[in-house]
């Protein structure tokens, strides 16, 4: 049994691939064991809940049940997945009728395991859902991380952007209004963190960038303009949707607000990985649309 099980979610296999690559590389460097859940399904995000509540709960409960069966806390790096799983676990715990319906559904339709023949999938409500920020700060610890830093990112000015769903409506591991877990980790990595970035937890527009692009551009413009005004070299993020929205449309954003130059948008795990001396490619930096290398060179940190 590994210490943690890992739920990537759909985005980390697609647009959020660099998040997966850098997370796995950082955990390996810190000697944290994490095993991907077998045959996991989509969490339903915000879209399924808009169509069918009971099915949305059942969908997420299969993931929780698989994780319970695998053992260990469940790590969900995507903010939306993390919230869906955390909320679902809470609802199943607090609502006995709902739990009965979902658990009997799981046991009668879903199976787990192959070896001795698959067995019915049970769920007792014992799995804890964790975000990597929580695990890094509270399990591994800032000091243990700082000890392994070999290439501190000195002089790199970073705006920490947390997005919505890891701090709202629940905030089990950080302050709801001024979260600091990412700030502390980036400081331990040597970054010059813009602690007063006021839009840390303001919405990036989420899937509206796809459905109502004008609305999405409006929201990210504000986030980017303010980060630029505060001299950010990089914005650090913890969610694949935030990353894509902030990075991919900066050409359009620059037509609305003043941006001196494009700002690289990195997963916080990519920055931590650089500080740990992990090669850029292993951190998925070659997949960035806006390259961070010129910024790193300018700040005379390593390539």
């Amino acid at each position: 049994m590994s210490t943690y099980s890992y739920y990537p979610g759909c985005s980390l296999k697609g647009t959020g691939k660099p998040y997966e690559e850098s997370l796995l590389a950082v955990f390996e460097a810190l000697q944290v064991e994490m095993a991907e859940l077998g045959d996991w399904n989509c969490c339903g995000a915000t879209a399924y809940m808009a169509v069918d509540e009971l099915q949305a709960v059942a969908l997420a409960s299969r993931i929780l049940a698989l994780a319970e069966n695998a053992g260990g806390d469940l790590i969900a790096p995507c903010n939306a997945c993390w919230l869906v799983l955390t909320k679902t676990a809470g609802r199943l715990e607090g609502d006995a009728d709902l739990r009965r319906v979902v658990c009997s559904g799981l046991a009668s339709t879903c199976t787990v395991g192959n070896g001795d023949g698959p067995s019915p999938l049970g769920y007792e409500g014992k799995v804890a859902v964790r975000h990597p920020l929580d695990v890094l700060v509270n399990d591994i610890g800032l000091e243990a991380f700082a000890e392994k830093v070999t290439e501190p990112l000195e002089g790199l000015r970073v705006a920490p952007y947390y997005g919505c769903q890891i701090v709202r409506p629940l905030s089990p591991f950080d302050d709801q209004h001024n979260p600091v877990t990412m700030d502390r980790l980036l400081e331990a990595a040597g970054c010059d963190v813009i602690a007063d970035y006021p839009f840390k937890t303001r919405c990036c527009g989420a899937s509206q960038m796809m459905t109502m692009p004008n609305v999405g551009i409006d929201l990210v413009s504000m986030l980017l303009e303010d980060a630029a005004a505060r001299g950010a070299d990089v914005i650090a993020v913890a969610c694949p949707l935030c990353q894509f929205n902030l990075e991919a449309y900066q050409g359009k954003v620059a037509r609305r607000v003043h941006l001196e130059e494009k700002i690289p948008i990195l997963y916080f795990t990519q920055l931590l990985g650089l500080a740990l001396g992990i090669p850029a490619k292993a951190l998925g930096l070659h997949r960035s649309f806006i390259k961070v290398e010129p910024v790193l060179a300018r700040r005379s940190v390593h390539e």
């Binding site: 989509c42 879209a47 399924y48 059942a58 796809m210 649309f289």
Partner: protein, 197 residues
């Protein structure tokens, strides 16, 4: 946001909708809304909405189902929960938004080709059948159904995503997708039985 005064009469009210709405998150809980407007003030999307969440709560409570379920307000909500954590009456506004989205779809009042509605439907259908989301196919389907012209501007981003290996063209499917569909059918049947009894 619309600034024209809205004139409504008693005939526009649907008392059944009002009763359903006020009991949504606990009996009569939504009557506790004091219309302070903190939800609309904290909402990052409210300037793009037909009207903000405060007015939505008011119209819904008074039974103006047509205005509420036909508005873009519910579909612009991104579930950022800013309103939920700010509400002094502890009303879970985001959950109310979800319930209104479902009601709009169920009752056939959601605008059929509105991209957010199309997205929610296609997303859930894909996941229900295959167990996972394939981002490229979701977006292609979204463009096909809600108007290709809206998505031409995104082509360069799509090309960059493919080039950097971030846009998988593989159609994802989990191994035990039949079990998952059966699970969703089972809970659905259970609900139908409960509603019938």
């Amino acid at each position: 946001m619309a600034t024209e005064p809205m004139i409504r009469t008693e005939a526009d009210r649907d008392p059944g909708f009002s009763a359903w709405f006020t009991d949504l998150v606990g009996e009569e809980k939504l009557r506790e809304c004091i219309h302070c407007g903190v939800c609309s003030g904290s909402c990052p999307l409210s300037s793009h909405m037909d009207f903000g969440p405060r007015k939505l709560m008011y119209l819904a409570r008074e039974g103006f189902a047509g205005d509420v379920l036909g508005s873009n307000t519910i579909w612009l909500c991104t579930s950022c929960y800013a309103c939920t954590v700010a509400c002094p009456q502890q009303i879970p506004v985001t959950e109310v938004m979800y319930a209104l989205k479902r009601k709009a779809i169920e009752s056939g009042r959601a605008p059929r080709r509105h991209p957010v509605v199309v997205m929610a439907r296609r997303f859930s259908r894909m996941v229900r059948k295959r167990g996972r989301l394939s981002e490229a196919y979701l977006i292609a389907g979204l463009a096909a159904q809600s108007g290709v012209h809206r998505y031409l501007g995104l082509a360069p981003v799509g090309i960059k995503s493919v080039r950097t290996g971030r846009f998988s063209l593989k159609r994802e499917k989990i191994e035990r997708h039949r079990e998952l569909t059966a699970l969703l059918d089972t809970v659905e049947r259970h609900r139908a039985e409960v509603e019938a009894s």
